[in-house]
Symmetry: C2
Subunit: 424 residues, 2 copies
């Protein structure tokens, strides 16, 4: 996190300049969207070959006709390709539908309606079910949980992952805490990657709930932005080593590798968890879209193919992230108004306002034409206690649009920040 210095000089003058800049911004009347982590069209173009694959082929390596029913576990050759990416042995990695979010949702649903391995009762019959949520975090995790009445308990994040002192204390004491949401690599939105020690402790810690689960959303497993390609510890292996094999549920997808929404979701876990999910999902489906899986296997070819492909993404994304960081430094550096992250991968930059007022900044930016993720979205129940966090999603806009949007955002931060400093 880059920290800016304390402000110097004439606050009133700075505020006047911010007001003037905001007026100009509004007059320009440009409409832009920084709300979601969507790939840009140029990124999607990288997988353009998928649009005419699998061409003349329809049989899998094992002779399966991918055009017909069956194959609940997904195409073996695609599971082989992604096993190293998600750190799950191929035989326990399932290739499923078009999203990992739906796999997370369905795991929660099945846990509510049938006992997970190790559970005393199904979660629907518990008096309370709570999940820990490292904050800032991913709003769709929160929404999915809230929808089922699962209580969300925020846990602070450090530069190495969730604060394990807090996590260990909570899970040791409270059997109603059944899970923790984690985006372990290039976390949404902080960009933090969990240290080996954090992963070890998550795997090792005693939990009051016998059916505690780590929901490991490894959404950015291969999504590097620098030459330092961060590797995290293998959670599944660590959980096994610590005698908690059933604790880890690993999720991933190709949504930000190939096509967003037309890719493939993956699930990996212990054999008991995999058998449990297969037994449940076997009542729901005769099998996933194997043609799309074959298409992906043909296109990506092997694990190295995934790496090569992700380098092409990086080439498109890195300049956008650098631009945002440059603009933030230029516009807010030394103002003492904000801190921001410098992620080594993933899809987001997290901007933290020293004096709060994130909701007001988002509102002002919106009135000037730039849509941002709602303030508070990074916290359970939309409740950011300091009203401080703004998530910036640089991937979708062009460089020109991005410069305009982030400059405008910085203007709003200055406007609100100086106002707040003056009114203290």
């Amino acid at each position: 996190m880059t920290t800016t210095d304390a402000p110097l000089g004439d606050l009133t003058g700075r505020r006047a300049q911010a007001i003037e800049d905001y007026r100009t911004l509004k007059a320009q009347g440009r409409v832009l969207d920084l709300t979601r982590g969507k790939p840009a069209p140029e990124q999607l173009d990288l997988a353009q070959d998928l649009l005419s694959l699998p061409a003349g082929r329809w049989t899998a390596a094992d002779g399966t006709d991918c055009r017909n029913y069956g194959g609940l576990k997904g195409l073996p050759e695609l599971r082989e390709i992604f096993a190293p990416v998600f750190q799950v042995p191929a035989e326990r990695l399932l290739a499923a539908g078009n999203s990992s979010l739906e796999l997370m949702h369905d795991c929660v649903v099945h846990a509510l309606l049938s006992k997970v391995p190790g559970a005393v009762r199904r979660w629907a019959d518990e008096t309370r079910v709570a999940f820990l949520c490292p904050v800032p975090g991913y709003d769709r995790h929160f929404a999915l949980s809230e929808r089922f009445g699962i209580d969300l308990v925020p846990v602070p994040m450090s530069d190495e992952g969730p604060d394990l002192e807090v996590v260990e204390r909570l899970v040791a004491d409270d059997p109603t805490i059944k899970g923790i949401w984690c985006v372990p690599k290039y976390s949404n939105p902080s960009g933090v990657s969990y240290s080996d020690q954090v992963v070890e402790r998550l795997a090792a810690m005693p939990t009051a709930a016998p059916d505690f689960r780590i929901l490991w959303d490894n959404a950015y497993a291969a999504h590097h932005l620098t030459d330092e390609e961060v590797e995290i510890l293998d959670l599944l292996g660590a959980c096994e080593a610590h005698g908690h094999a059933d604790r880890a549920l690993v999720f991933g997808s190709t949504s930000k590798i190939t096509f967003a929404g037309a890719g493939v979701g993956f699930f990996g876990a212990s054999q008991a968890n995999v058998d449990w999910l297969l037994a449940k999902s076997g009542k729901r489906s005769i099998g996933p879209d194997k043609v799309n899986q074959l298409r992906h296997a043909q296109f990506l070819r092997d694990t190295d193919g995934v790496r090569t492909h992700m380098k092409a993404h990086r080439a498109l994304l890195q300049p956008k992230f650098e631009l945002v960081l440059d603009v933030l430094e230029q516009e807010l550096g030394g103002t003492g108004l904000a801190r921001w992250t410098t992620p080594k991968g993933g899809y987001f930059i997290s901007l933290e306002l020293v004096h709060g007022g994130a909701s007001e900044v988002v509102r002002l930016a919106s009135e000037a034409g730039t849509a941002l993720t709602p303030a508070g979205a990074t916290h359970p129940y939309g409740d950011d206690p300091h009203d401080a966090t703004i998530r910036i999603a640089p991937s979708f806009p062009s460089l020109t649009d991005l410069r305009h949007a982030v400059t405008g955002l910085a203007t709003c931060v200055r406007l609100v920040g100086y106002e707040r400093q003056l009114s203290r």
Copy 2:
């Protein structure tokens, strides 16, 4: 249902012949599979163009980039194509994932975990939830319901659909009866299409449960086998007309139109039900695979394109159904041992054994190499009270294999039937 005459002549001799025929069958040692309603490879070849579509295109008619996130309702142009097929206005027809079974499953899940429109409480909080199951019926409907502890109540089928006297009495008295599973056209496995009067009465009948639902699995909506293309009454319209707009949940898919498992599932209902499902599924998914939907829209072009395509399926399927009916007539006609259906569409022929013994027939056929759907699978809990129904799925095998398998099946029917007649 073709009824055979009572048997004449020497039973002992007939049995001896059956024993001899069975011995020959076993000696041939051919392994065949008549278990599931799977399309044959030649049928899948009809949609071969899908394997290289959408080629250079990725934008929907409204300009949406199908390669990116969003569009929870599905691609408008595909919903337009299938609106007449499933008798649902396009604006209330959702195009979803790769199966309709999963949509049925998810509707049940969401009804268990959140109130459906009109419900007093969510189904998980009811002391009992029961579904009516016209029998013979579809085993995956039963399995999906059983998995959630939903009680299954069998209801007899007539040539016009479920026995409405029974249905009306049960639903009028018992508020725990929350639904009925229906395959209204070319039903699985009886081939029955519901008469207009049956559909009207289903739509009109008073129900003790305010949140009663008809789960209308229109799986064979376009799957004709004769020139008489059966049309059923529009359930959704009928329910609206009778003031029960929220009663109907309509499901369908292209599984047996394009590719089985790589097609598109559809859901149609009242606006309240559609809004309810969208609100729930919006927590599960950012949207379906729009590229596959675009591929389908390009390939099928329009509703007439679907009709034309289904004629090509019929050309491949009709000879198989005719072959089965010929063999049954030749081998069992006049024996008094069995009755069978002569479906005008769909995927199955239902064979009913006059003297029971379906399990034994299936076992003998299996020992001779021909796998059949387990006896009882057509009934909830696998409980066919007369052990009489055998489902024949003629679509997948070649004509040669089919002749062998059905001749063998008939041999087993004769063997068991004469045995039973003699031991009475």
